[in-house]
Symmetry: C2
Subunit: 239 residues, 2 copies
């Protein structure tokens, strides 16, 4: 399992509403029981990294300060590296990456539009929430790939990327503006449903004989939501 470390500690003193999304059952999921089809799995994961890259690049271009540009541009570089590394894995399997990614483009493009927000801070939280959930998800799902491929894919996806700079920029902004905190809490919450739909579609795309059906794997999503709650907590936002 991937636990995100909370670099600055939780804030137990902050009063919080009951989370709307409650991770009630933290049942341990054995991800190796889920057997994704390597080609569509890699295609979707690669295309999603390209979208994260595009979002991060937009965050760079619209950043209000040079230090923000600097941190975000490094994070954009990581997403781009993940994208190209996954592309390389697709080529290794003897398949043309464009053909493999194309079926995922429409839904992922729509998801990108939905999750990019109304201003720079919503864009940042959109990346933080969606990339946090989906990187963790695809990395866990990679446990069901053939062993060597799975290990390489996990190494690609687990590279520390945007989370540190996004958390830092968002915490500073939230600390300075309580209205922003309220708005971002709502915004973060609203992203969960669409992110889970993308995650679910990854299982649908992989439904091969012997693989788990999407409706059998609800506990997977419970873990994703628990991660999400921890991520929002770390920002002092109510999930």
């Amino acid at each position: 399992m991937v636990f995100r470390t909370n670099r600055r500690g939780l804030r137990p003193e902050a009063p919080r509403l009951r989370p709307r999304v409650t991770p009630t059952e933290l049942a341990k999921v054995d991800f190796t029981e889920l057997v994704p089809e390597p080609v569509p799995f890699l295609g979707q994961a690669a295309y999603i990294q390209l979208e994260f890259f595009e979002n991060l690049a937009r965050a760079v271009a619209t950043a209000p300060t040079l230090p923000a540009k600097e941190g975000l541009s490094a994070a954009a570089g990581v997403a781009l590296r993940k994208h190209h590394a996954l592309i390389a894995e697709i080529r290794r399997l003897g398949v043309e990456p464009d053909d493999v990614m194309a079926p995922f483009a429409p839904a992922t493009d729509r998801f990108q539009q939905i999750s990019s927000g109304a201003d720079w801070y919503e864009l940042l939280l959109g990346i933080h929430v969606t990339a946090g959930m989906l990187d963790g998800y695809f990395s866990r799902l990679a446990a069901g790939l053939p062993a060597e491929l799975g290990a390489r894919v996990r190494a690609i996806l687990d590279e520390e990327g945007a989370s540190v700079v996004l958390e830092s920029e968002l915490r500073d902004a939230i600390a300075a503006d309580s209205q922003l905190a309220d708005r971002l809490a709502l915004w973060g919450r609203s992203l969960v449903g669409d992110t889970l739909l993308i995650a679910r579609s990854a299982l649908r795309a992989s439904e091969a004989p012997g693989s788990a059906r999407a409706d059998q794997v609800e506990p997977v999503f419970t873990e994703l939501i628990a991660d999400h709650t921890r991520r929002m907590d770390a920002l002092g936002l109510t999930a």
Copy 2:
């Protein structure tokens, strides 16, 4: 001198108007006579690479096909690498990169707005023309830096970046649409003046005792314009 190879050969058969910008005097310029101040030189060069990265990332996000996204995203990665490598050189000199880049931000941001064009093809040609001229220019100017620093900076700037993918996308589009060719020829021509102003400002920023004054180095610009003409020729466009 940096000559761009023309991968698909010139097109001597294509009728061309007399170039508006005529490289009449190809006097050999000794760039080592120009002695840029390392810190502002690196600051401006680093910030310009960040802008190229932002433009390329925008070209990725708005690309009409997946193969175009693929090639452009790799090129965006190169620009980002150049930016971060130049930042690292600034840090090596014991200076904070943000402080060094900040003075160049307003003019470079304006330049970015001017050169980003009205559609995807103008954006691509804008990057091709301005990055082509300015990478070549800063690389040549680096000859006047202290020897080891100069060699490292040239190696950073000379990495093959966007030109191949930009030329390929533009040639395909121009071949398919003669109206586009006319429009892009005009657009490319209109970019030269602003690009030269940025190049000139690099000398102004570096005016230290003993360095050449901007008004003594007109031949430098003649070379840049000759490069530009070759670049436009390679696309079948009249410079």
